[in-house]
Symmetry: C2
Subunit: 243 residues, 2 copies
DNA sequence: CGAACACTTGATAAAAGTCAAACGACGTGG
DNA sequence: CCACGTCGTTTGACTTTTATCAAGTGTTCG
């Protein structure tokens, strides 16, 4: 364990005291390897653990009685998984690994200690969970009101902007690592239609693809088409307690 | 000011110390009347205030460039509005009054004092904001994967369950107080289609209507149709710090 | 080399949207 | 107190979007 992924992420928003950093580090004491496709948590199962993603990509999702799946959120390195479970004893959503990776489970009750000892860090986590909430409402708007092409444009932009937070090297290109079926389950379309629309975005010269990597050729126009707003820029942390 | 709406709500989940209760009461020191249709906050405007709803109903929404509206969330008495704005200097969503009512604005910075002085209450607010998040992902699933009829069933159930939290008298009937256009903007349908589907729910004997009031005649079947789960029951607050 | 698995394409069907018009309730001003 | 205008609901005819079904093409990995 070189460095704490989670502390590294939080430091982008707020200078941490050594004590705070150590506390965050403790959340990642128990790294666990997961393999692509592995189910980490099942909906309705008892939740005792929350997670930090170290490497790889994860997703939360729900399966409807008729077998349909809705992917709720993707998780990347440095992300905190499970804020939704803090309110419930039973998991409101399932969790699975999209790629091989490492996640760090920690007990839900450690959050209590964190709140008591480092309320400032807890507050930062609260605020970051609100950016997640806003990203969700953006996608809600996308599913509720936008065309298939717009949903895809917004989806791709959201992913690249989230990857950029953790990786300064990303310019206009990224590994998607999702099947078209998974994309469809995230944006509420069938894989067939996803295929047609992605293909169309490609023909329109807005994106290009080469074995799994996506390049955004005209980000401005994609933003326009997808009614997209970057929610990971321009956060206001000024009001948080100081150290 | 008889009692603090917000404290009354929080007391349903956790016993409050006198100090905590007083702190919550202070958030409601400045009640403000709003009239039906009044815009309380505009997307992209500077946010300095958060709100507690005392009476009436409010909504948050977003307008797309082509004029379409997506209603993100309804707010009822005792609800806290603005958790999304805690992360941003500029409002990510607009806020308007669906009915006449009273809201209590308080400065975003008072949240800081609350966190420092009553971290336990702040933690409870965090957890409650997660129930809101889960309700949002439920609606996301609804918009992404469910038929028009299912979306309406789930929408009605969600509203009645939320009203029940604040009002023990509600059995199977409630005032909707939304136009069919507003319903459509919430669940991602046109008002015309909302009309047809509501009418169909009525013909199927699942609901009945009499000037604005909706009665749920077969809640079990509505739940089945709408793939609905009550997220306001069965919360796990046990792990929160004690007084 | 072959079996999964993912992607692509075409034909057709279903769901929801659009446009237009009529109806009804309600509140306001003459 | 009534007429009228506004706003919301209802209904019908038609269009568009997306889903469904089915089959074929790569591609990757044991």
């Amino acid at each position: 364990m070189t460095e704490s992924c989670f502390a590294a992420r939080l430091k982008k928003y707020m200078a941490l005291t050594p004590g705070e950093e150590a506390a965050l580090h403790r959340l990642e004491e128990n790294p666990r390897h997961v393999r692509k496709g592995q189910i980490i948590q099942r909906e309705k199962d008892l939740v005792t653990e929350l997670f930090v993603v170290s490497t790889g990509r994860m997703m939360s999702y729900v399966i409807l009685p008729d077998g349909q799946r809705q992917i709720l959120r993707l998780y990347f390195p440095g992300d905190f998984i499970g804020s939704a479970s803090t309110a419930y004893a039973k998991a409101p959503e399932s969790l699975a690994a999209l790629t091989d990776g490492v996640i760090c489970p920690f007990d839900k009750h450690s959050l209590r200690r964190l709140i008591e000892e480092y309320p400032r860090v807890a507050a930062l986590m609260f605020v970051l969970s609100q950016t997640e909430r806003v990203a969700l409402t953006d996608r809600l708007t996308s599913l509720g009101r936008a065309s298939a092409k717009a949903r895809l444009a917004a989806f791709l932009l959201d992913i690249i902007d989230r990857l950029r937070v953790a990786d300064d090297n990303i310019r206009d290109s990224f590994d998607l690592r999702l099947t078209q079926e998974e994309i469809g389950d995230a944006v509420g379309l069938t894989s067939v239609h996803v295929n047609r629309m992605i293909r169309q975005l490609e023909q329109d010269g807005l994106i290009s693809r080469s074995n799994g990597a996506i390049t955004l050729l005209d980000e401005a126009r994609l933003q326009e088409i997808g009614h997209y707003t970057n929610r990971y820029d321009d956060l206001d942390m000024d009001w948080l307690p100081t150290a």
